[in-house]
Amino acid sequence: MIFNSLDYLIFFTLVASVHFLLPTGGRWPLLLVASYGFYMAWNPAYLFLILCSTAVDFLLGQRMAEVDEPVRRRLLLFGSLAANFGLLFTFKYWNFAQANLDRLLTTLGTHSPIPPIDVLLPVGISFYTFQTLSYTIDIYRGVLRPEPHLGRFALYVAFFPQLVAGPIERARNLLPQLREEASFDWERIESGVQLMLWGLFKKVVIADRVAIYVDAVYGNVGQHNPGSYLLATYLFAVQIYCDFSGYSDIAIGSAKVLGYDLMKNFERPYFSKSMTEFWRRWHISLSTWLRDYLYITLGGNRYGLSKTYRNLLITMVLGGLWHGASWNFVIWGALHGVLLGLSRATLPARDQIYARFSVPTFVRDAWRMIATFHLACLGWIFFRADTLETAWMILSGILSGPLSAPFRDTTTLAHALLAIPLMLLVHVIQERAGSARAWLADRPVAIRWACWYAMIVAIALMGVDGGAQFIYFQF
């Protein structure tokens, strides 16, 4: 069951309605059953993995809080890490590791003794694994008390709005809310529904539409010219942003309707003026997770420049690998690691140049924004291409030129030309006013309603039907 489907609309309406009809004590069981049902709509068997992860982390969390001895606490943490990463490795990385080991051993004239396994990647495994890990790590660090109620902890792991593609919540944020239970609040419901609509608009009107062009080019690289490669790469940057931020908006909006606040996941990343800022605005729940639990654990920026760069590189390579078991993602992550390091290293020199030539602030900011966007696009080539060869073909095609007229798909491009400027306008309002919904709330009711009607009409008339999967479900 995906968010951009009639099934989810009906499922969510039913769950939300019953949720508010139940007494507060009866709400967590409803949400837990609904969450498990939501997950089982993909593959009932994989619920077993969530149950395992829940049981292991609940028990180890409880035990960790009872133990003072550092060695035993460390052992318990190691148990949690081993269980969660073990599941993740088996279902997500086993075949990748096996294939690479086999390739390596083939060069030595032998074959890998480990066989590949025939399993489907469980939807959302990377997301809920990181979410439960943050719980045990926080208890180990002494910044979180364990949740005494198994049911509420299970709901924290499996809460359906963010179960399959985040935001990767922290126990410190979500668990207290699950304990408090929310009351019926019209403003909150209205605001949640509006956010869901906006997310749906980004997903079905923009992301799924431009995906038609992107898939046509990236799926048949040999049939297209460098001009098409460039346009498809720009459009993929739009697609992945609208797809994932659209998903996050629907997730956050759904939770808001039910009375829970999830963390923000995107903040107009293509308005960033550096790669460092890009990662503060892109997939915030993952980037802060990597910062808090990996980068800082590695030492962060506390042990000199060279170790800072090393830590950045390790963090981003592992962040890339988190996305998928493929060398493309490893290179994408490494590229971002290098760009983050370069961004940090060259900042003083760049500032000096701007100062020496008295470059006006708006020119400098515009240039930085354009440059950052293009660096992100460079990474997207590796992220989107199916193989390294395809990525290289596209990159070398764009760089060697000439950039001839791109392939024309009039319907797709006409839809994109109508919808993308609208999204940009909303983003400009958000950058200036903080919240487009708050800005709109100050307008007369006729304008407010006209805007929401226009959005619903756009979804009905311009949205791509057929319920395409969200890109991040595969991670």
Binding site: Q223, L418, V457, M462, G463, D465
Partner: protein
Amino acid sequence: MMSDAVGVRLRSRWLGLVVFVLGLVLIDRLLGFGLERVLDASTPRARALRLAVEAPERNYDGIVVLGSSRATHHFEPSEIAPRLGVEVVNFGVDGQGLVFTRLLGARVLRAARPPAAIVVQFDPGDFCKPTFDRAFVLAPLAGRDDLVRKTLGHDWRSRIKLTSSLYRFNSLGPSLALSTVLPTPDMGDGFVPLRGRIDPDAVVPPRDVCGADPLDPTLAALLVELLAEADAVGVRVAVTLGPRLRDFDGIPEAERRAITEARLVVERGGAVWLPLDESTEAGRFGPAYYRDASHLNEEGARRFSRLFASELAVRWPDLGRLGSRE
């Protein structure tokens, strides 16, 4: 206890919601009505919709070819027509399948002067991969064509979607808007050649179009219905398979079952079964004739069309006489 002020505010919220929803229904009906009028007053630019709109209004003199991209790019009327002595038009539409073929075929058969014969390009996937969603491009006709409404509303989700007048025009807005201001290009005989050729060294794995999907009897029923309708108005039907670039031995078992089932349906319906795929000696084309693994290039299409016409001429030697009927 809820205070009076809170109660009044809540009631006004609910009232506002009801008014908002009623406004939405009104907008849906008004915009849907407007788009219907635009559709009436213009020639749609989308090939699928244009063919469906024009199909019942045309007069046919020979053969209409129906099918997916493997019809659009494989059947060249200028190669087929002189060999059969009848006019040939290609109504294939990229990305479509048997659902669309069924609906377009029905509209063709409804013409005041239907064709002498229709050729249905069949793909094994037609019996295992439902293409109802793709055929939704015909949803604007749901208000005026019962078969379109019934076929597209095959499940509860689709029936809900079709209740919206606006949703029926999903994805067609810009195309309809353009059709009111720009001249619609001439489609000619409908054949669209593909240029270029596949890399001769390319490794083409046998694409399993059915995969693990079982044969779907509702899809087979669509072909049965089309054959019966054609028979009722005296129109002959030939169902044909086109070639793909792959090893014949590589045809997966599920596809073989789909082909066997299609052959049974066709023969029971009194139509002609004309397999010209890679399982036949004649249907084995070299890589030089392919643009990609599933589609022939222009040269391949010409060769295939000649081959097809010769085979059909043997089955229907009297077709030329029928095609020029008054």
